[in-house]
């Protein structure tokens, strides 16, 4: 449900970056979304179509690169994707881990003309 605020924030950032380069139009926005951020790409697209109307980013293509959650075991250093109801290390069964990927929420690049 926070996609409206996220999309508005993303659009502001993109328009600001495009403005800095003097670009007339934003053609594509490359976004990186970690699984843990809980952002639904379809919702972002829906809000974007509405919010971007009349801006330089209207009709820009949104590209989503989704990053799965990844963890590193504090004990044996194994890097793994946690299972649905079991976040322990598949190798040594230790439960203490560091989350190494999955929290991303950023604009990687924009394509302008």
């Amino acid at each position: 449900m926070h996609e409206l605020a996220i999309t508005q924030s993303m659009l502001d950032l993109v328009l600001d970056e495009a403005n800095k380069t003097g670009a007339a139009r934003v053609q594509k926005i490359n976004l990186v979304l970690g699984e843990m951020s809980g952002i639904a790409g379809d919702c972002v697209q829906f809000y974007f179509d509405y919010l971007s109307k009349g801006t330089n980013a209207e009709r820009a293509t949104l590209s989503f690169r989704k990053i799965p959650t990844q963890a590193r075991c504090h004990n044996c250093e194994e890097v793994f994707t946690p299972k649905e109801f079991d976040w322990s290390c598949p190798k040594c069964h230790n439960v203490s881990l560091e989350i190494t990927a999955g929290k991303e929420l950023y604009v990687e690049s924009i394509e302008v003309e």
Binding site: H2, L13, A23, S37, V95, S96, L97, I99, E108, S109
Partner: protein, 222 residues
């Protein structure tokens, strides 16, 4: 032409959160962001905390809800400054809303600001407000599996409060299993088991709150 951006989508919010944090620091106010699902006991825990610390710590409260002033009225009944934010549909508080609230609170008369976020286990996690500590409440009836369903907030919390422990005999909530899973994804989080109904465990929680106040001598130093 491709332009590398590599900027967090919420960087604008984060900047305002830093501004809020700096303002609170300049006024010697410590700040805790209290988050949970609706109905887990955020308001009840805040009320318990205010009652226990009456005369010792001057508390101020920001209440975040989609609509109504029900919670603000309850807190106001305890005689502390409170400001209600109605988000009008937004499922979380953001730094701009809190910034406006800070402008309208008597910060010089507050040692500890408790922010009750909108009831939600997903969205509030992404939005920094300017707080020093994040507290997550999970109530027993919600179930011990929430950590796997909504890992981000459990990962970010400085303290996790298991509330409504008086209901443990009637549920399958596995405190030990939950605590083990939590320690796995969040080594820093303190865990408290409380009941705002029977008052069990509240003292331990309140001690942690007091220990996280950075300016305990503010009042005497004035």
């Amino acid at each position: 032409m491709e332009i590398k951006v590599l900027k967090d989508i919420l960087s604008a919010n984060d900047q305002i959160a830093e501004r809020n944090h700096a303002l609170l620091q300049s006024k010697n106010v410590s700040c805790i962001n209290v988050m949970s699902s609706p109905g887990s006991g955020k308001t009840s825990l805040i009320l318990e905390t205010i009652r226990r610390l009456k005369g010792k710590v001057r508390i101020g409260v920001i209440e975040g809800d989609i609509s109504s002033t029900i919670d603000a009225q309850k807190v106001s009944g305890e005689g502390v400054p409170v400001l209600q934010i109605n988000t009008g549909g937004e499922c979380h508080l953001d730094a701009v809303m809190v910034g406006h609230a800070l402008d309208n609170l008597p910060l010089v008369d507050i040692d500890l600001l408790l922010i009750e976020n909108v009831g939600n286990l997903v969205c509030p996690g992404e939005f920094k407000l300017g707080e020093e500590k994040k507290v997550l409440i999970l109530s027993v009836p919600e179930g011990d599996d929430k950590i796997y369903k909504y890992p981000l907030l459990f990962h970010l919390a400085d303290a996790v409060v298991i509330n409504k422990i008086d209901l443990l005999p009637y549920t399958k909530f596995d405190v030990e299993g939950f605590s083990k899973a939590l320690k796995g994804i969040n080594q820093k989080a303190q865990i408290f088991q409380v009941s705002c109904t029977t008052h069990q465990g509240i003292e331990g929680w309140v001690s942690w709150v007091v220990s996280s106040i950075r300016y305990p001598h503010k009042r005497t130093a004035k």
